[in-house]
């Protein structure tokens, strides 16, 4: 399915090997391993952006799943539906983030609604973002979090296009878990 060869552990270039140390690193790493010097610098950045930080996991997964849904990234929506579920998001919340139900019907916290409005404006819009939307997210989250969450949207968009462009495959395990959660894809 993938449009490029996904490098396996035996084929892994030297700089890529640490990422295979714990088993299958997933198709993003396996694709980036074709250019090991890029993988080498990209993964710490991606890990720092998407991984644990001073911002809790729940809002990060709100951003990642919503961004991926509005950019229609099959791979990222499938994977992060499972990750977000494991982070504690409810089934209704997952459905709303995946554009299968209006956000305002499910999310009632003003800080999260402000964040999701910010995500939609960044991921779907062109040109400047309206001041009220920016003021709301800054007011609820503060500037450092606003900066990191904005970088998170951009990084997710980059990964969305990478995964979509290269048609990276979702693992059978993830598809099974999705089915258990009531999602066909």
């Amino acid at each position: 399915m993938s449009r490029v060869k996904l490098i396996n552990a035996e084929e892994a270039p030297l700089l890529a090997r640490p990422f295979y140390a714990s088993g299958d690193p997933g198709p993003i790493v396996a694709a980036l391993a074709q250019v090991p010097e890029l993988l080498d610098v990209a993964m710490p950045f991606i890990g720092a952006t998407l991984g644990p930080s001073f911002i809790p996991l729940r809002p990060k997964e709100l951003v990642i799943l919503r961004t991926s849904a509005v950019l229609q990234c099959r791979y990222c929506v499938e994977v992060h539906t499972v990750v977000a579920s494991e982070a504690g998001l409810t089934a209704d919340e997952l459905v709303a983030l995946r554009e299968e139900r209006p956000l305002a019907e499910v999310f009632d916290r003003p800080d999260e609604l402000a964040l999701l409005q910010w995500v939609d404006a960044l991921a779907l819009g062109r040109g400047p973002i309206a001041d009220p939307i920016a003021d709301a997210v800054r007011g609820h989250w503060g500037e450092p979090a606003m900066v990191e969450l904005t970088v998170l949207v951009g990084t997710t968009m980059m990964l969305n296009r990478l995964c979509t462009g290269l048609e990276l495959p979702t693992s059978p395990e993830t598809l099974t878990r999705l089915a258990e959660l009531g999602f066909s894809r």
Binding site: P13, L15, Q34, P36, I46, G47, V79, T174
Partner: protein, 265 residues
């Protein structure tokens, strides 16, 4: 770390030796490096403190520009060229004449003192062409080394002694004769020949090809027509300092970003 930087001039060859690491043969993808690029690598290698250039293939002398390019490269750094020694026509010999004044040596493969044993691995008439070429090169003042590649049990003491007698008779001294094992990569892996090595057992020598930079000249091997990537350092080869720096970091065992928890799938 510096030392020698290796350059893969090309991957195609007029021979198809049984143990070839790069599956070289007539008609394979050439992966040929431009002469300007070879010279760029040599110049940057010198600036970075490397002391020698090694040029290998394939058969580098299939590149029509090679004699002149070697003359330029050898003016930058001492150069060793690996060749099968079978393409040295009178015309090519004349074009090699300037190399006599330069710090350059041709390392020619010869695997046995017995023509039939040598040719079984390296192709018909290989032995005859090599023993013809070596004195002609030496008569022109071009330094020659001999490389013997083989399985340990194929060259016994008597064979080794006869091979040494042969190369001495051709004017190649003992210190210019190297004996090396077959590395089980490329065609040798398909034939079940040679010895396997872990990366850490292979000395780190920066190796530049058109496909990227590798840990060693044993790195950019080909199997089933596909380039092996397990010893790939980087696709980027310019400036040379980039892959050189990455190789140095790997040699020192300092992984990059290993303190960052990767929280993605």
């Amino acid at each position: 770390m510096p030392g020698r930087v290796w350059i893969y001039a090309n991957y195609n060859c007029n021979l198809a030796c049984t143990y070839c690491l790069t599956e070289s043969a007539p008609g394979v993808a050439k992966r040929a490096m431009d002469p300007d690029e070879m010279l760029r690598v040599a110049r940057e290698a010198k600036d970075l403190g490397f002391t020698d250039i090694g040029i290998t293939g394939g058969e580098p002398f299939l590149l029509t520009h090679l004699p002149e390019t070697l003359a330029e490269v050898a003016q930058v750094l001492p150069t060793l060229v690996l060749t099968n020694g079978t393409l040295f026509s009178d015309v090519r010999m004349e074009r090699l004449a300037p190399l006599a004044e330069l710090p350059i040596a041709l390392q020619i493969s010869l695997d046995s003192p017995d023509p039939d044993v040598n040719d079984e691995m390296r192709g018909p008439d290989n032995f005859a062409k090599v023993v013809d070429a070596i004195p002609r090169l030496r008569d022109r003042g071009i330094a020659v080394r001999i490389a013997t590649t083989g399985e340990p049990d194929r060259l016994d003491e008597d064979d080794h002694a006869r091979l040494c007698e042969l190369h001495r008779g051709l004017g190649v001294a003992d210190e210019d004769h190297i004996v090396r094992p077959i590395v089980q990569r490329g065609r040798a892996a398909d034939e079940g020949m040679g010895t396997t090595f872990q990366p850490e057992e292979i000395p780190a020598e920066l190796c530049i090809t058109v496909d990227g930079a590798f840990w060693s000249p044993f790195g950019p091997t080909v199997r089933g027509g596909e380039l092996d990537t397990d010893l790939l350092i980087s696709r980027t080869t310019a400036p040379l300092g980039r892959p050189a720096g990455l190789l140095h970091r790997l040699v020192e065992g300092r992984p990059h970003g290993d303190d960052v928890t990767i929280g993605i799938r």
